[in-house]
Structure formats: structure tokens, C-alpha cells
């Protein structure tokens, strides 16, 4: 009898771990399958490549995590990446022709991050002004996406800008392990903010129940605005990594990035209605998606068919998450 109970206990425990670590297990499965199907997947250069590509989308996703934690949505981050890329490269082209003009590079990075922050704050203030909820954040940030993308197109008249600036700090950003270190450092900072400061706890509270948060005296409007600002700032920083890698900027640079970032956050398990999840979840989500997309590339699935997979993954991930939550609620009810 006791053995039976023990077995059942063990089984429950295994099921629980499987459920809570679903993303991690998925990641491991994808890696195993990809390395069996295609030998070249598991090479050091490919893995470094995956991580480097993941870092730009990763940084974007960190910002989106903050926004989604407070029960919002930001569809404009891709367009912000486009605009910031153009601004960054034109600053570098204009003032950093000489080699090793690191001061200018630093200024360019700061300017672009400030620009991203500013656009994010515009997003935030529009949303907060009349207390918009999830539906409105979708449409307002979609409107901002169109506006910012058109501004990017107007900035260059639709042309792309080739980089002509000298080598130096700016290009170092995407060399070797630097983008990965940048991503992880930013993730660490944001994780500490989210999990261990009052600001972070208040954000989770807003995501869980905005009215309740307001009644408990949290400055909901101000906090939500700042999360959009941080989202924009992350987009600005991501644009530096992207432009540094490709040594040019296009007005369509970041179009579609927002979907990748949202997918990463959602797959990681940060809830659509806010309140649960976190930075570590997002890192896992980013890894799953970039490993998957690289694996599909290595195996030879074309970009169009990958859209199918990506859409399905969003739905399946959120569906599993909801099923999990429903069963958890049932458990706590009985």
C-alpha cells in the first residue's frame, strides 16, 4: 500500500516538474533532435552564432517582458529598432569617420537609447492618459508602430544607409562574445529589478490586478509609463547590436522583430494577462525560438514555412500555460 502511495507521489512529482519546466524540456528536445538530424548543428561556431543572433531579439524581449508583466503589450518596438538604427548609423557616418572614435560611438549609443526611451514614453503616456487596458495597448502601440515606421521611411526617403564609419568601439559591440555578455548583463540587471525591488514587485502587482494595485496606493500610471519607456530603451540598444553586426541600417531593419520578441516572452511563460513570469522565463523563451529557427534553417525549412511553426508555437505555449493554470486552480480549490 505504502509502495503504491510512494509511486503515486513520485509520479505526481515528475508530472509537476514536467509541467513547470516545459520550456526547458522543449529546448533540450529541440537541441537533441536537431543534432541527430544535422551534424553541423552542434558545432561551436554554430552555437556561438545562435547566441549572437539571439542577443538582439533577446534584449528586445527583455523590454517587452516588463511591458507584458504590467498587463500591456508593445507592438511598436520593431519600428523603434528601425528608426534607432538609422539614427545611430547616420550619427556614426557623420562624426566618426576616423578610426577609433570611441567617444562618438558612446554618444551614438546613448542618443539612440534616449530616443528609444522617449518613444516608449510617448507610447506609455498615450496609454496611461485615459487608463487603457490590454485591448487599447494593442491598438495604440500598433498605431505608434505605423507612425514610427513611416518616420523611419521618411528619414531616409526609403533608402538604406551603408556604414562608412571607421572601426572602433561601435563595431566591437557585435564581435565575439560582446553581444551575449551585453544581453546577459542587461538580463541580470532587469531580473534583479523585477524580482528584488519594490518597483518590480509593484509591476507584477499591476499585471495581476490593476484596480487592486491602484487602490493599494501604487502609482499605476507612472509605473506603466516607465515600463514602456524601458521597452523603448531596450529597442534602442538592440538597434545598436543589429547595426553593428550588419554595418548598415535600413528603414525596415526591425519590422517583424516585435512578433519575435512577443513570441519569446509568451513562450517563456510570462502570462498574457500579466503578473506572472519573469526575465529568466524570457531568456528561456528567446533560446527556444532562436535555437528552433536555427535548427529549421540548418535542416533546410524555408522562411515561409517557419512562419507556420512560429505561429503554432505561440498558441501551443500559451495553451499549455493556460491548461496548467486551470489545473493548478482546480487543485487549490479542492
Amino acid at each position: 500500500m505504502s509502495k503504491k502511495l510512494e509511486a503515486r507521489y513520485l509520479r505526481d512529482k515528475v508530472v509537476k516538474i514536467l509541467k513547470s519546466q516545459g520550456v526547458l524540456i522543449g529546448l533540450v528536445l529541440i537541441i537533441i533532435i536537431a543534432s541527430i538530424v544535422e551534424r553541423s548543428f552542434m558545432t561551436a561556431s554554430n552555437i556561438l552564432n545562435i547566441l549572437r543572433q539571439a542577443s538582439a531579439i533577446g534584449i528586445l524581449s527583455l523590454g517587452v517582458t516588463f511591458v507584458m508583466m504590467t498587463g500591456g503589450m508593445d507592438l511598436s518596438v520593431g519600428a523603434i529598432v528601425s528608426l534607432c538604427s538609422l539614427v545611430a548609423v547616420s550619427i556614426m557616418n557623420g562624426y566618426a569617420q576616423a578610426e577609433g572614435a570611441n567617444g562618438v560611438a558612446l554618444i551614438a549609443i546613448l542618443v539612440v537609447m534616449a530616443l528609444g526611451f522617449l518613444i516608449g514614453m510617448v507610447n506609455g503616456s498615450l496609454i496611461v492618459l485615459f487608463d487603457g487596458r490590454l485591448g487599447e495597448t494593442f491598438i495604440i502601440t500598433y498605431g505608434m508602430q505605423i507612425v514610427v515606421a513611416s518616420l523611419a521611411l521618411l528619414y531616409t526617403g526609403g533608402q538604406f544607409i551603408a556604414g562608412t564609419f571607421g572601426t572602433g568601439l561601435y563595431q566591437k559591440v557585435s564581435e565575439g562574445f560582446t553581444p551575449i555578455v551585453c544581453f546577459l548583463a542587461l538580463a541580470a540587471i532587469m531580473h534583479v529589478i523585477l524580482a528584488h525591488t519594490r518597483f518590480g514587485k509593484q509591476m507584477s502587482f499591476i499585471g495581476a490586478n490593476i484596480d487592486c494595485a491602484r487602490m493599494s496606493g501604487i502609482k499605476v500610471g507612472k509605473l506603466r509609463m516607465i515600463t514602456y519607456g524601458i521597452g523603448g530603451m531596450c529597442a534602442g540598444f538592440a538597434s545598436i547590436i543589429v547595426t553593428s553586426r550588419v554595418y548598415s541600417a535600413s528603414p525596415l531593419q526591425g519590422s517583424g522583430y516585435e512578433l519575435d520578441a512577443i513570441a519569446a516572452v509568451v513562450v517563456g511563460g510570462t502570462s498574457q494577462t500579466g503578473g506572472t513570469g519573469g526575465i529568466i522565463n524570457t531568456i528561456l523563451g528567446v533560446l527556444v525560438l532562436s535555437v528552433l529557427s536555427n535548427a529549421l534553417n540548418v535542416i533546410g525549412v524555408n522562411a515561409n514555412a517557419q512562419l507556420l511553426v512560429r505561429g503554432a508555437i505561440i498558441i501551443v505555449a500559451v495553451g499549455l500555460d493556460m491548461l496548467n493554470k486551470n489545473s493548478a486552480m482546480r487543485e487549490s480549490a479542492t
Partner: protein, 322 residues
């Protein structure tokens, strides 16, 4: 709510309630002064055709928004309908079978959306974000990103047929609009959308099968997206993943401009039709004034933001008043 505000008529309230009409007249009068040829009959016809095609889908969006849901995948469904319809026409050469199968496919796609939303209780924004990506991928895989076109004579006749000087597409829209409006206003089935969107929990306790209602909304949306796609093919005799990328959000904007609130539970398809007319007139005016395409997009984005802000402002005002 609507009846209430007309009983206690306040001047400001009346103006705010009829914003759509004022906007519309404002635009038209402005354009008539700046470019008198804007009111030429051929231009009005072309405006009405655009209103008809997008308006059909906007009817579906109105139902969904009344029921408290949302469909971002409308654009992708619309593309898929065009591509499928053209392919079927070329394969079978029978317009009726092609139309029936395209409508069926729309019904199935819409129902899948609805089932995901109701069975897994996933927010409709996220669900349709996922299905939008998937259906778009499907279209691209199917066509390799190329345009597909047809020379079918029936479709050519359907697209160019006119009655009383108006395109046949306009009459299709008119009949859809009338059917949907009557359904929403006078049938039990239609009215249940209002209760579902107004307060889901209360509606469920009152014995309404809210899951069925929501799913039905998505199914209707799917069918209407297919009708829209077929109408576009009738007009252009081609289908592509490039046609209608802005459809979903344009429909939302039209619905909101018309006065249906995003929070659900109120609104009407007729008002959405007016909203769509305003948007199309605005877009046409932008083209007519010779604005560069990037500026046009800029204005579209700004209009979308302004409209949602205005809607939010009105909702909050009402909430404070009561």
C-alpha cells in the same frame, strides 16, 4: 445606453454622439473646396467599392468586438480567401463550387480561432496573433509570395456589373450589412452577443452558452473574411499576400470611429459602416491631395491612435458619470 442619451439630450452629448457624421461632412466639404473633382461620380463609385470590400469584414469585426473579442488574423484570412478562391477558380473553372469551398474554408478557419479562444481560454489577441502568423505562412508557402490571377469570365462579369450606376460589390455589401444588422438587433442569437460582451459571467449565469456564442462570432468573421476576399478577387481578378495587410486594424478603427466600444457589449454594424466610410474618404483624400505614401501611412497611424484615445476618453467619461 443609446436611448438614454437621446432622452436627456444635451448639446455636447449630441455632437459627440454624432462625431462620425460631422467628421464625414467635414472631410467631404473640405475636399469639395480643395479639389472639386473629388466629388466626381467615378470617384464616389471607387470609394464605395473600397468601403464595400473592407466593410464586409468590418461587419464581422463589429460582431466580435460587441462580444468582447477581437480578430487580428482577419488580414491573413482575407489573403488566404483570395488565394484559395483564385486557385480553385483556375482548377475547377466553376465559380459556384469555388465560392462555396472558399466560404467553407473561411468558416473552418474562423471556427478554429473561436475554439482555441473558448477551449483553452486564451485571450483572443494572442490567439489571433498566432493564427495570423500561421495563416500568413500558409499563404506564402502556397504561393511562394507570388501573385495569383484568374481570367474566369463569371468573375469578370461579377466585378464589372453595375446596377443603377453602382457596382455589384456594393449590393453584396448592402445585403450583408442588412442581414447582420437585423440579426444583431432582432434575433435572440444576435442579442446574445451583446450580453456576452457586456458581462461574460452574468451572461453565463443567465443561461447563455457564451462559449458557443464566441465561437459563432469567430465563425461568422471567417465567412465574412472569405466574402471580402472573393469580392476583392472579383474587382482585381487576382489575389496576393500584399492585398489587405492593414485590413484588421482598419476594421477595428472603423468600428471604433462608428462608436462601438472596445470594451464590448454595445454597438451596431450600421455605425461601423459609417465609420468605414469616414476612413475610406480620408484615405482617398490623402491620395487625392498627392501626399507621399509614407506621409499617408503616418496619417493612418495617427488617426488610429486618435480614434482609440477618443474612444477611451468617452468610455471613462461615461464610467465617471454613472
Amino acid at each position: 445606453m443609446k436611448r438614454n442619451s437621446t432622452i436627456k439630450a444635451r448639446p455636447l452629448e449630441i455632437i459627440l454622439d454624432q462625431t462620425v457624421l460631422f467628421l464625414l461632412f467635414g472631410f467631404v466639404i473640405f475636399m469639395a473646396f480643395v479639389k472639386p473633382s473629388f466629388l466626381a461620380w467615378w470617384n464616389i463609385q471607387s470609394i464605395l467599392i473600397d468601403v464595400s470590400i473592407y466593410g464586409v469584414v468590418a461587419c464581422g469585426m463589429t460582431i466580435l468586438i460587441i462580444g468582447g473579442d477581437f480578430d487580428l488574423s482577419a488580414s491573413s484570412q482575407y489573403m488566404w480567401a483570395q488565394i484559395l478562391f483564385v486557385t480553385l477558380l483556375n482548377a475547377t473553372n466553376n465559380p459556384f463550387i469555388s465560392i462555396a469551398l472558399t466560404l467553407l474554408s473561411g468558416f473552418i478557419l474562423g471556427t478554429i480561432n473561436g475554439l482555441i479562444v473558448t477551449r483553452f481560454r486564451i485571450n483572443s489577441f494572442i490567439t489571433t496573433l498566432g493564427t495570423m502568423t500561421m495563416i500568413r505562412g500558409l499563404c506564402l508557402v502556397f504561393t511562394n509570395g507570388k501573385m495569383v490571377s484568374t481570367l474566369n469570365p463569371f468573375i469578370k462579369r461579377l466585378g464589372s456589373a453595375e446596377f443603377l450606376g453602382l457596382s455589384s460589390l456594393f449590393y453584396i455589401y448592402l445585403s450583408v450589412l442588412i442581414i447582420i444588422s437585423l440579426m444583431l438587433a432582432y434575433t435572440n442569437f444576435g442579442r446574445r452577443f451583446y450580453s456576452t460582451g457586456g458581462n461574460l459571467e452574468v451572461a453565463r449565469l443567465a443561461g447563455i452558452n457564451t462559449a458557443f456564442q464566441k465561437t459563432a462570432g469567430f465563425s461568422i468573421m471567417g465567412i465574412l473574411c472569405s466574402i471580402g476576399g472573393i469580392m476583392l478577387v472579383a474587382q482585381l481578378r487576382a489575389g496576393s499576400t500584399q492585398y489587405g495587410t492593414d485590413l484588421a486594424l482598419t476594421c477595428v478603427a472603423a468600428t471604433v470611429i462608428g462608436g462601438t466600444q472596445l470594451s464590448g457589449g454595445a454597438g451596431s454594424a450600421l455605425r461601423t459602416a459609417l465609420g468605414m466610410l469616414v476612413i475610406v474618404v480620408l484615405y482617398k483624400a490623402l491620395i487625392y491631395l498627392g501626399l507621399q505614401a509614407y506621409y499617408q501611412n503616418l496619417v493612418k497611424g495617427l488617426v488610429l491612435i486618435l480614434v482609440v484615445m477618443f474612444d477611451l476618453f468617452m468610455t471613462r467619461r461615461r464610467a465617471i458619470r454613472h
